[in-house]
């Protein structure tokens, strides 16, 4: 095994200490975005390499948010190249029905959980991204807007639409 030069060894140690602990967050995001375990694994590995190469640009901010931005970009680039993800429409006219679903019908049983999974996966990519970052990673709007590189207003509207779609979807599935 080749000896790693000292500055490299330091960089590696620092990287492993600050970025590697967020592996689950990285994988969870990639898994939700790609909806595939093997793709997520490959893309997370690639994202980690990219992150390491640009570790100099990491200024000591939140390592998780920094890493998630790279994971997200890696996934989006890959999916665009694959061409299987149509970009979402930003048509403001797309609204769900104003009547809210009957929440009491949402029973949190196996079927409901399965539906939740399907409904989340059925969300357009950008909505799914926003929901996963917000509800599973519990990031702030500001952090999400940094990661997705869109204004905070867009993050909020994406979240709102995503929730509406989820409600509709769950309602439809559990009827």
């Amino acid at each position: 095994m080749a000896v790693i030069p000292a500055p490299m060894a330091n960089k590696l140690a620092l990287f492993e200490q600050s970025v590697l602990p967020h592996l689950n967050a990285a994988y969870n995001l990639a898994r939700w975005l790609t909806r595939s375990a093997t793709d997520a694994e490959d893309l997370v590995q690639e994202a980690y390499l990219r992150a390491f190469r640009s570790f100099e640009t990491f200024q000591g901010q939140d390592a998780r948010a920094w890493l998630l931005a790279i994971v997200r970009n890696t996934c989006f680039t890959w999916m665009r190249k694959k061409g299987d993800q149509p970009a979402i429409e930003f048509d403001e006219q797309i609204h769900g029905p104003e009547d809210a679903p009957d929440a009491e019908s949402i029973l949190l049983n196996e079927a409901a959980l399965g539906s939740l999974q399907n409904c989340l996966e059925a969300l357009p990519l950008e909505y799914r991204e926003a929901i996963v970052l917000r509800e599973l990673e519990e990031l702030s709007y500001r952090e999400i807007s940094d990661i997705a590189r869109v204004p905070i207003g867009t993050v909020m509207s994406r979240l709102a639409r995503a929730r509406r779609r989820l409600q509709q979807c769950l309602e439809g599935a559990l009827k």
């Binding site: 095994m1 080749a2 000896v3 790693i4 030069p5 490299m8 060894a9 960089k11 590696l12 990287f15 492993e16 590697l20 592996l23 689950n24 990285a26 994988y27 969870n28 898994r31 939700w32 375990a37 997520a40 694994e41 997370v44 590995q45 980690y48 390499l49 390491f52 190469r53 809210a100 679903p101 009957d102 929440a103 009491e104 949402i106 029973l107 949190l108 409901a112 959980l113 939740l116 999974q117 989340l120 929901i131 996963v132 917000r134 509800e135 599973l136 519990e138 979240l159 929730r163 989820l166 409600q167 769950l170």
Partner: protein, 221 residues
């Protein structure tokens, strides 16, 4: 009602959730959507790829290219050298051959006719800037010596006899170790070699094996 409370209520399927869920389907996601954990092998894979990334990279590609260029250049150079040496050798052989013929045709075979090496050797002193080895060779009596020019070099010509045959040996200093060669030119046999920084050419109309014997004896002596 905040999400935390709503989550706890959801776990018990409390009907009072209804109101909250109207405004907060996110709670369902936060509490019940699957959080995918990375497979354990992934961390090892990433660590390994980071190790590969930090290993000092030896620039094999440029090195290989440089090496092959070097090899090609040296191969070409060797061929050029060989050709020029072959060409050089050819040139010398030609000169040796014509010098030998001239020495037999004319009256200029010997400047110093003597069978005594101690007469012949000192004769060259002052005429050449080197001292040629002059030796007695059993069965090939020394007849004498003369000055010659071979391929532009001042050379000592030592003349030996064998029955009615004449052997001319041309000697001059040479740093380049001349290749040993044996060749035949219009019925004459030529042999070349080098010893102790001197180039030697022997030529005679003797048969090849007798000339070889002569050369062997000369080099031994």
């Amino acid at each position: 009602m905040n999400c935390e409370i709503a989550r706890r209520l959801m776990e018990t399927n409390d009907p009072s959730l209804a109101q909250h869920l109207r405004s907060c389907p996110s709670c369902i996601v936060g509490a019940h959507a699957r959080y995918y954990e990375a497979p354990p092998a992934l961390e090892q894979k990433i660590r390994a790829s980071l190790r590969r990334e930090t290993a000092p990279s030896v620039p094999w590609r440029p090195l290989a290219i440089a090496a092959s260029i070097l090899l090609a250049v040296s191969a070409i150079w060797n061929v050029v050298l060989l050709r020029s040496r072959v060409g050089q050798n050819e040139l010398v052989a030609e000169d040796v051959f014509s010098d030998h013929l001239r020495s037999l045709n004319g009256t200029h075979l010997l400047d110093v006719p003597s069978s005594d090496q101690h007469t012949v050797k000192p004769w060259f002193a002052g005429k050449l800037d080197f001292s040629p080895p002059v030796k007695d060779v059993a069965g090939f009596p020394l007849l004498g010596g003369r000055l010659e020019y071979v391929a532009g070099h001042p050379a000592a010509a030592l003349v030996y006899g064998r029955r009615a045959h004449i052997v001319n040996v041309f000697v001059w200093p040479s740093n380049a170790a001349a290749p040993e060669s044996t060749q035949t030119r219009k019925g004459y046999h030529l042999r070349s070699w080098s010893d102790n920084g001197m180039a030697f050419w022997a030529i005679s109309d003797l048969n090849g094996s007798e000339l070889a014997q002569f050369v062997a004896l000369l080099r031994q002596g």
